[in-house]
């Protein structure tokens, strides 16, 4: 098992590696959707009253929102929610991937894990696109957490 920080393939955090493995070994799309539904339950859910224009992920067919922050140890922590469980499941993957990393690690995290999971071929290219959009937004907002001194 890797204990990586996401600089690229082979360096994924352990929890993410498990997801990548489960996802690529899933029997079919149905099973993958089932996984996403389960993952959706594990998100630190952003309550409806915190859904704002700023938290909204654009280019998504359904409403999806994310909010970046820090956990009690000063590591990265992502909250999110979506009205679609599948989309919330995808947010969950990001949450799991980035939990506890430093801001610099989050910003440098390689999006290649999306390819490794095979979201485009296993689900759909538009899902993969939406996912990458969301991931990019998380990284951009994480960068702003660093403050002016970096």
């Amino acid at each position: 098992m890797s204990i990586g920080v996401g600089s690229g393939p082979g360096d994924w955090p352990e929890a993410l590696s498990t997801i990548i493995e489960d996802f690529s070994e899933a029997f079919d799309a149905n099973e993958r959707y089932e996984m996403l539904f389960e993952l959706a339950e594990q998100v630190d859910e952003l309550p409806l009253d915190e859904w704002t224009e700023a938290s909204k992920v654009h280019g998504c067919q359904s409403e999806a929102h994310i909010m970046v922050g820090l956990n009690e140890n000063g590591g990265f922590h992502l909250r999110g929610a979506a009205d679609s469980k599948i989309v919330q499941g995808l947010i969950a993957i990001t949450t799991v991937a980035l939990e506890g990393l430093s801001i610099a690690q989050v910003v440098a995290f390689s999006p290649l894990f999306v390819e490794e999971m095979g979201i485009a071929s296993a689900l759909s290219p538009s899902r993969a696109n939406g996912f990458l959009n969301m991931f990019k937004k998380v990284q951009v907002e994480a960068a702003s957490l660093e403050g002016p001194d970096g």
Binding site: A29, Y33, Q61, S62, L123, S124
Partner: protein, 418 residues
Amino acid sequence: MTWSPSQWPTPLRLDVKAARKDFPILKREMSGGRPLVYLDNSATTQKPQQVIDAMSTYYRTSNSNVHRSAHTLAEEATLGFEESREKIRNWFGATESRVVFTSGTTEAINLAAHSWAKVNLSEGDVVVLTEMEHHADIVPWQMLASEKGVELRWVPFDLETFELDMGAYEVAVQGASLVGAVHTSNVLGVRNPVELMVELAHQAGAKILIDAAQAAPHDRIGFDSLGADFLALSAHKMGGPTGIGILLIQEDAFQQMQPFMGGGDMIREVHFDYSTYQENEHRFEAGTPRIAEAIGWGAAIDWLAKWDMESVHEHGLELARFTADSLRSIPGMRVFGRQAERDGAVVSFLHDTMHANDLAAMLDAQGFAVRTGHHCAQPLLRRFDIAATNRASFWLYNTREEASAFVEATRDICQRFS
């Protein structure tokens, strides 16, 4: 209530198996080797081999521009194109009316808005629309309203019976110049009382445009006898190709229209300082027309003519009724529509906890293609306080087994995930 295919109320009157054979796409395997179950026919139907062949034969043997040259290919192309127009004219019972080719229903309605309404209406004139309209029959009139100061009046429908409020309609048409009404709703499947609507519009001195996009696949529209002034529809919802449709126009409305697109084909003479226009339908068909598409549509009509359209209608409605009844028995499922005698083969539904996109994605993973979203009818959905539904819509090649499998898959997904 759940019906099983063996308990269907009437025997098949349409040879669905034979019909299916003509559609190569229906043999396609989806992920996991599952067969394609295509239930998005209201968006567009699949095309029979005969249509595909007609278009490909045209390109392989007769491709040329129409109305322009004195050579063999040009004559064949012109003949094929104009013959298709006549087939379409006959199919829709419009022998005494005008058949103008457009890119589809949307362009047909826009043509009526630009070439008739903009020319004949002015500030304070009234256009009546129903709350069931597709965006194609809303937005052109809103544009006209903001440009010309025309007033739009909306006719509501009942949220439980899904029926148009004909009392409100009768009031709304008083003093109106034009009515725009959907023949069969693409969301609810409801077939509106268009005959009565035409009568009441005319009594009030208004012209009426019917959006028959969803009527074309299952209804024979007798345009002349219906008496509407305009009727718009698309080829692609009745087995024909995309990119072509028509506006049917009654003669006196036709005479009140002015072309809004200028160019080749629509002119009689062009001088440096002025031009004169064609007197017939070509007047509104500027530029090289959709020749292969017209020929393909003609082939679709030849193909459809093999089937008894009444049986086609009944078959679709039967599938829709079965599906609606069965979906209603799924806990948390809401079905929009009534599936009455002349309604379209459409079932819109929404689960109260399962997101429409999630349900559609999981159905898709099992090979079921259904539509999800606002169906280009946001005002209608807002009436129900919802933003989207799932929609299953059937055509003559869909089987009872497909409908049954679809219902079971939906039931199963809802049970497991909600």
